[in-house]
Symmetry: D2
Subunit: 488 residues, 4 copies
């Protein structure tokens, strides 16, 4: 069973212990509860699509471990072409669902990072993490499971290091080591798509110092493991998601982000991939963010496609030609293709890791992260500009008002333009949804902040090389050193 | 009773006939219904503030008709200083309520426009509109009422002129003229702050051609007039407004925008200020947008102040210093002061109309409109950048989850940073509220689109003067005319 | 003789001792030497214009000391209207000459700053600086002289304070005090329009500490004073200025910037306006930069007008309609009016100083400085975009090649478009001149750097007020202080 | 002799007939004349570098025709890796020479375009153009010649088609066909690096209609062919290039752009690669611009490296640390890597042409062209911002003044900061040179205008696909067509 059907996927989710909550309520069936069903349906397209002639090539690939067909979300990146395919898949998933497939994306990135890190640890430390990992991965591929990834710790006071915190649990940590496994306590926060996942892949959220061994931990667990309490966070307009009708225009897709609370959770050894090896933590984060920040260009381009399409639909429904908006559309295209293209460039100019994994170029990947944190906002503004006032803040009567026996006919009469009132509303609601509503993804801080990306850019930008180039050209022979103390 | 108390204001709203609906439900008391009470409370500050030593000078002025103290929202603009005071009042109102006092602002602008237009019509046509208007205004000042303004028609198919529409009612029109008044049919859409208003001031939404007399109409009516059906529209996160707790952080302020359906509404003559005078319609729109587009710079600066404050509060709650964000803060200051300042400049370089009104400079006012339609978006992005992932999409557990007996203590434990979990949440929710939530005003299309503003800019930019300047400098004597047919 | 004629002005320049050099050559007559005559001719328009009905109201005003008509460049700012007139005059001067009237502008600003500072010193210290100053000013108005202003010191190693420098002379300083005057040594650098000036007004370039009394000095001197050596600096394309023909399209205007070397120059007491009063130095700089950074918005708008006009002339000469470039032109208008308007706003929201001077608002003036340091660049790019490849880098054969007997006819044949080859060249050369040639003013660092302006913005932005506004709205009661140590 | 030495290269240039002019003077030796020697020296690095261990891998490759080592500038693009190498070579050439190697770059692109077009014509029309082309190319590789490319016609009145022009010669055209060859008349304008070239490769500058056969012509000629008159155009600061000393800081590199006048030039058949085949003209332009607009991202990144290096050198010479400018530097890095990366992406997502050539992706290549036309300007502004007033307009005394016996010591004294006066001047002159001086390349219109690129973007952007995606997501079933007549 290398590729599950959509029904098998739903069944696998229903079979799990309920441990997800929202609004102080336990969600007993994630596939039907209004707070989670849309994200499940969105992720479901990765299963449905695998049985569709046209979508399959983007969604599946061949396991380099078994030669079997597998979901691309369970594969190891081994070439630039694998990265291009990944970007294309993500763009297509946004096109299909309107939003992020976060419950597979971060998990896939995390397992790729640990593929490399476990290989390096085994090489250096003679551990057997990589073998454990491969065994688990082979099994995961066979079971065709959905795996969320969890990086971000609660972090407490940002001015303090982990050990200085009043409560050390604000960084997830190992509180006990047993012969058969480890016990962890803490939290991982803002974790995407948990409700759609079978398992959760946990990796360190930052680089740790030598004496911070308790925080250097990586493992994979069933989502419903004992001791794990999950609370889904709010997002803009989230209660509208639960309504009937077209005020929330997208039915098969939706973002959720959860807080995971680990209250002394036991993890057996064969699911532990790092435990105390602090010096591999920073590189693990690096191995995570490079492909993540490359592929995310495809994601935001995929949503940008929808912003373009829905804005023009609204304009045409109003009676306006797309030609009127040529300048704005061109800027939207440029924004989309810039994030998409920079991710491709980071892949193209990457290099092979001795483990066999493909490493994206860190400079280009992080430049892309900065674009991803800025250009989609401009694309949203342009979509609102084109679509007009009814889309800008979704300023239209509600679906319930459209149905009103008392005055629904007045809404139909006065909202009608070139297209019917309902079509106008649907098109404009889609613009609202992805620019100001529940479809807005966290593209600025997702996968790390733009300021973090800028640090990596500076670290990789080779300033002194450029100074040397200028020095030679200008014919300067005098030594001009960096002043020790800067004064502004 | 030139200045009403807050209680008198509430009483005046409660005394009206219920004719406002939302979600197919009639709102019986706008001062307590969760869909409208926040906007009423926000507008209420214009009454409360008039009795506060510090706020009074900004909120009140002296009637040029009676010499009595009146609300600034009922005054006629007569000098640049009046406009500066107006900008300052609006900035302060945003500071106090987090958002727009739209239920007084557009009404005030509309009555100022008609002050001029009625004066011009009387001068040219020997009508008595201006006298009617002054009589009504004196009375309105004495009653200290809140007056919404209504401009925007439904407009139907944008590719067609009013008379070409399938259903001419998509532009509000006079369907009958009687000896004692007129009967109108049609709609005005996206009208701000209706629930907080006592009366509604209606003016034409566009310039009409000579043969479109039925659409050239202006009048003022009680909000609860017979034949008027009002439906409040949705806005992002509007159902969250109705919840308890701090997920919607602002309690005394809120935006509403309504659709007004006029089903053969009768308006007595003494409240009619234009009826068929098409050639005054375009200038009326101009008289509306000049002060509107000047003062709105103060509005968005006022909300920008909150974006700055809430972003820094969140950063500090996280343990970060404001100094870290100096570059970003500086850009936010620049954005705020640019919209504020350009509005001031438009006022300063305006001129006196023979009626006594002060006219803002159209070029500078419309340049400001373009800034207002763009800079606040950048300010929002910067606020989200500073405040981090929890603010970007409000990615935190709900207020109800904070109270959970089961796991509320875990949220408190893991959301705590430098400040408590609750303070962090409150600060971050405020960022969310004004950048992606129900506090986002329609600053792009409110008061007209930026593309409309650009048309006015081009009309006032004196291109040929600049060509002549360049021609003289370059010493060109040959005639170089504008080609008749452009080729791209 | 309150207003001199152009001829009297030229005569006054010719009467001075030659002490200006360029390319290691002494310039004996600034009114005819190719390196200086264009700037003299440009400044000459302030004299010619005073006798032109249309230009006079902008160029002249009434002395508040004598009631006589004087050049606006010799007046004291006393109201917002004075500042508006100043902005308008500067915009007009750019329109007339293509560039900066720097030889009067900085001098006028410097004397306005010292009007205030001398008043304050007399008030506080019982000195007689203000009386000396007024006596000199009255005389300067009567003589209708052109006065350059000199602020910027050589400054040496930017990481060191004045007293720490290896050679203290890098800040201009008093080396001897005599009964009848003082002796100064040092340099003032990048001083605009010296060749067109009769006198030079010197003020401190920065704020000094209590123990740095030797640097706190202000005075006014004849340009040809004994001991002063002047070297004109290069600017882009400066040798082209000296050519015949239309490759340098502007003949009556040009920027020059000089280094002034003071080798123990003696200044008599009645021309000394500060000597050792360190605590007035920083405020003097402030009094200089506020009106400077307000009015400069008019300057760059004035050059922006030319960029618009010359770009459209070139496009039309190519056969293209201005309509094709509507979007780009609109952005150029916006840029121009934003710098112009923000200067107006700074004036409008200023306040009266007890000396009678008008003080512009520091926040708005410095926001404007940042716009002035950025928007004109974008306007230049748009001009090049519209005008095409021949303008972008002036990529056309030279004037001499146009005249070639051998192949001049080929150039005429192939450069001809809708207009003649020569008209196209003249129009495109004007675009080149003001976007990449000798007409490019130093708008980024002139009057101080944008980073310096940002410091002033932050100092005036009232961050804590905005935090308090947000705190109240969010209902936060917990104290959230600025962390002592920032961590990024 | 597949790789020539630098001396052989110079000899080959000296051996040619003088036919290049500037300032109405014939240049008899391009290798020593001050107007051309710098560009020759710059191009010379492609020969010198081929004998340098480190530079060789970037500058040379293997001929797919002969298997011999050849200059990369004479190779046919066959894979994405060939394009990456091309971008890297161009970036390195900018690093080495400060500027463009335009005399080889456009020629190489033109021959690659005609490699494909001749193949297509032979396939479709049974001509023997491709064989002629390969024969010439093999010979050109063996001779290791430098080949300029010439595209742009004079074009006359832009509102008219070629046949409508008063003088049809404004588009280069065939005026006679003989048995042994063709005769052409007309001009190619703004041709880069002609003085450094041995031959010139001419291709059509636009797509022609069926009846415009006389203009559809491509051929390659010796630069000194009979009947060809060449006039070098001006560029900013070009006379400074001819001076001694460090005012023009770059000695081995420089841009020249020439007008080529063809007065009935005869071209033998074996050098003619298109003659009348109008329907291949538009695709030829496309085959030219795709690799050109991809690789140019490397070019501007290469110059961006110098802007960074020289700005920091100046800042350090002033005594300031690079750290002060972290934000600005990061934006410069982002700009550089964005143009570089988008070119890489266009190559990576290209496809194989049946001729064996590699085609870059047109959408991504043209998005890059827009970035290339905008980002380098911002990078320049940032360089000027960092480097300060002396760099912004090169506001320093001249080299000659530095040497002055009279006051050179004063310049040395007062220009000294952390570094010596001369080092500061050299560093700042380099900033001036590449941001406002003779080193500024025509990156906006070179290789076509950004508006032209936007047309290609729109043609490739698949708007209707995006509309379909949005339509499905929004659940819209009504047909909403593009209105026939747009109204704004």
């Amino acid at each position: 069973m290398a590729i599950k059907t959509y029904e098998q996927y739903l069944a696998s989710l229903r079979a799990m212990r309920p441990n997800i909550h929202k609004f102080d309520e336990l969600i007993t069936d994630v596939t039907t509860h209004p707070a989670t069903k849309r994200t499940v349906e969105g992720h479901g397209w990765t299963y449905k699509g695998a049985f569709d002639e046209q979508l399959r090539p983007k969604l599946t690939t061949t396991s380099h471990l078994t030669g079997e067909p597998i979901s691309r979300y369970l594969s190891i990146l081994q070439s630039p072409e694998d990265m291009y395919a990944n970007s294309d898949m993500k763009r297509m998933m946004f096109n299909l669902t309107g939003t992020c497939t976060g419950g597979r994306c971060a998990g896939w990135t995390a397992l790729n990072a640990m593929f490399i890190t476990t290989w390096e640890m085994d090489r250096d430390l003679k551990t057997d993490y990589h073998q454990r990992f491969l065994k688990w991965l082979k099994d995961a591929q066979a079971r065709d499971i959905t795996i969320s990834g969890a990086l971000t710790d609660a972090k407490g006071d940002r001015a303090k290091a982990p050990a200085q915190q009043e409560d050390k649990d604000v960084f997830l940590r190992v509180v006990e080591k047993r012969a058969d496994g480890i016990v962890v306590r803490g939290a991982k926060v803002m974790i995407c798509g948990i409700a759609a996942a079978n398992e959760i892949f946990v990796i360190p959220g930052t680089g740790y110092r030598d004496d911070e061994t308790e925080f250097a931990v990586s493992f994979v667990i069933p989502r419903d493991i004992e001791g794990l309490t999950i609370v889904e966070t709010r997002h803009p307009n989230d209660t509208r998601d639960e309504e009937e009708g077209f005020d929330n225009p997208v039915t098969e897709g939706g973002i959720t982000q959860a807080f995971l609370f680990f209250e002394d959770v036991f993890i057996p050894n064969d699911r532990v991939f790092m435990c105390g090896e602090t010096k591999y933590t920073l590189s693990t984060v690096g191995y995570f963010i490079m492909p993540y920040r490359s592929a995310i260009g495809g994601c935001v381009a995929g949503q940008g496609d929808i912003k373009i399409g829905s804005a023009i639909l609204t304009a045409r429904a109003n009676g306006l030609s797309a030609k009127v908006f040529n300048e704005k559309l061109t800027q939207m295209y440029i924004n989309n293709e810039t994030t998409y293209g920079m991710g491709i460039a980071a892949a193209a100019r990457g290099k092979k890791h001795p483990s066999g994994a493909w490493l994206c170029d860190p400079l280009l990947a992080n430049v892309n992260k900065v674009h991803v944190a800025t250009l989609p906002y401009q694309t949203s503004v342009l979509a609102q500009d084109i679509a007009g006032g009814i889309a800008e803040t979704g300023c239209m009567p509600s679906y319930k008002d459209f149905q009103s026996k008392k005055y629904g006919h007045l809404i139909a009469k006065y909202m009608k333009a070139k297209a019917s009132a309902e079509s106008r509303a649907r098109a404009a609601r889609l613009v609202e949804w992805c620019t100001l509503g529940s479809g807005v993804p966290g593209c600025m801080h997702g996968g790390g902040s733009p300021d973090g990306a800028k640090l990596v850019i500076r670290a990789n930008a080779k300033l002194e090389d450029k100074v040397a180039i200028a020095r030679r050209l200008a014919g300067i022979t005098e030594e001009i050193t960096e002043p020790v103390v800067a004064k502004k």
